[in-house]
């Protein structure tokens, strides 16, 4: 049987030099938590595996001089959840990372991997949208930075081309900004989001003002929450829940057929009915943070 070539550069420089030499049929290995099950079930004949596992530069979290937090693409969910800078400035991302999969998955799966894999139910992408993050992409010609909108298209595909590697996430630091993330899965832990909702707010003279909110897992890529201001107050929570339910309904109506596991009408309508749960969770978190 044909052997798959396994390449594991030890530095960014080595990685860059490898890029032009890769066969078309190359799989990029980050944590492996998505790639391995795919290899197992679909048996693609990869000629080459390019592993980013042993590049220390890709695991760095640091503040840049221009006011960003740079998170290496190979930072694992566990490392992100443990990082004091992420905890301090990007609480929503910290909350998301703390509840991705199981401890084993968090130890292995990376933020970059999650973004590149671009599963509609991924927990990281909504947070990067929320913070107006940028992504650093390496190719043989050098590095470039793109916005989330340019990275992840509405159809759920990424802009990455053959020979391009996501190397870092840049999140602008705003010390006044607070944020949170909640996820409704099919059980409490080790679960894939059915709806995720993250919100960012600032406190203006004792009252939170929600500036932005993103919803994950309801469409091919995260959607902006229509009226984030409603999330600031328990009195408008019901209205916010209704908005989200409507948004989910619109998306459902555009689908040509329901997801394969949603056999009954009750299952097909579940997300819009349960929207209320995530909305109230977020409203309560904001309220509790600003007490």
């Amino acid at each position: 049987m044909a052997r798959t070539e396994y390449l594991q550069p030890g530095t960014l420089e080595d990685l860059k030099n490898l890029l032009p030499t890769l066969p078309t049929n190359t799989a990029v290995l980050a944590g492996g938590t998505d790639l391995m099950p795919q290899i197992r079930t679909r048996h693609p004949d990869y000629e080459c595996i390019l592993s980013l596992w042993n590049i220390p530069d890709l695991r760095v979290v640091e503040e840049t001089t221009d006011g960003y937090l740079k998170i290496g693409a190979m930072v694992t969910h566990a490392a992100a959840a443990d990082n004091h800078l992420i905890r301090r400035y990007f609480r929503g991302l910290y909350m998301a990372c703390s509840h991705v999969g199981s401890q084993q998955v968090r130890n292995k799966g990376t933020l970059g991997g999650s973004l590149v894999n671009a599963s509609p139910a991924g927990d990281i992408a909504p947070c990067i949208f929320l913070y107006h993050g940028q992504l650093e992409i390496l190719s043989q010609d050098g590095s470039r930075r793109v916005d989330m909108d340019e990275f992840l298209f509405p159809d759920g595909k990424t802009c990455l081309q053959q020979g391009e590697i996501l190397t870092a996430i840049y999140l602008p630091i705003d010390k006044e900004l607070n944020s949170c993330f909640v996820k409704l899965g099919s059980r409490r832990e080790v679960t894939i989001a059915q709806i995720s909702l993250c919100a960012a707010w600032k406190n203006y003279s004792g009252k939170p003002e929600v500036l932005s909110a993103f919803v994950g897992a309801i469409d091919r890529r995260p959607c902006a929450f229509p009226n984030p201001g409603l999330l600031a107050d328990l009195l408008t929570a019901e209205q916010a829940a209704q908005l989200l339910a409507d948004q989910i309904r619109q998306i459902r109506l555009k689908r040509t057929r329901p997801p394969k596991l949603k056999l009954t009408e009750a299952e097909q309508l579940y997300k819009e009915r349960a929207a209320k749960g995530v909305v109230y969770d977020v409203v309560e978190l904001i309220g509790a943070a600003e007490l």
């Binding site: 070539e5 990869y46 595996i49 999969g101 199981s102 401890q103 084993q104 130890n107 080790v190």
Partner: protein, 156 residues
């Protein structure tokens, strides 16, 4: 590729196929069958081993990722004929039934206690949430972790 790693504390160098599943490498090439395959896709935790001090799924790992790393499997915990505190606690608290989840469960707990010698019940649950057990209802397992943590701090 030539793989350099430490296996249960011993340095090893071997010629391997880097893209092979770590689980297969451990079971077939290293002959350490204590690490089990329950689902092959990182959902059950039976294949959990410790890589560089972290619990990971060996079924979701390529052998090449081990290069330069430190691997511990269940077989490495018993030292000089003495069981690890977690292993002892599993026996003492009757946390072992069919046993198929046990090696993965023990490795998850080993990684937890290395980082966090006095975990709360919540932290214990989170650490083993990815280790499915069908025989015990987890109560005995959770009790075993507290027992092991207590025994460990007594030893220190």
């Amino acid at each position: 590729m030539e793989l350099h790693f430490t296996l249960n504390g011993r340095p090893e160098t071997m010629e391997v196929d880097g893209s092979k599943r770590l689980l297969d490498f451990i079971r077939d090439d290293l002959g350490l069958t204590g690490t089990k395959e329950g689902c092959g896709e990182g959902e059950c935790g039976a294949c959990t081993v410790m890589l560089n001090g972290e619990a990971i799924h060996s079924c979701l790992t390529m052998t090449g990722q081990l290069d330069g790393g430190e691997l511990w499997t269940i077989e490495g915990l018993e030292q000089n004929g003495e069981l690890d505190v977690i292993q002892k606690a599993f026996i003492k608290k009757s946390a072992v039934q069919c046993g198929f989840c046990v090696s993965g469960m023990v490795m998850s707990i080993k990684a937890l206690l290395l980082k966090n010698p006095h975990p709360t019940q919540e932290e214990v649950k989170m650490a083993i949430a990815g280790n499915i057990c069908r025989c015990t209802g987890y109560r005995e397992v959770k009790a075993a972790v507290q027992e092991a943590a207590a025994a460990q701090s007594e030893e220190e």
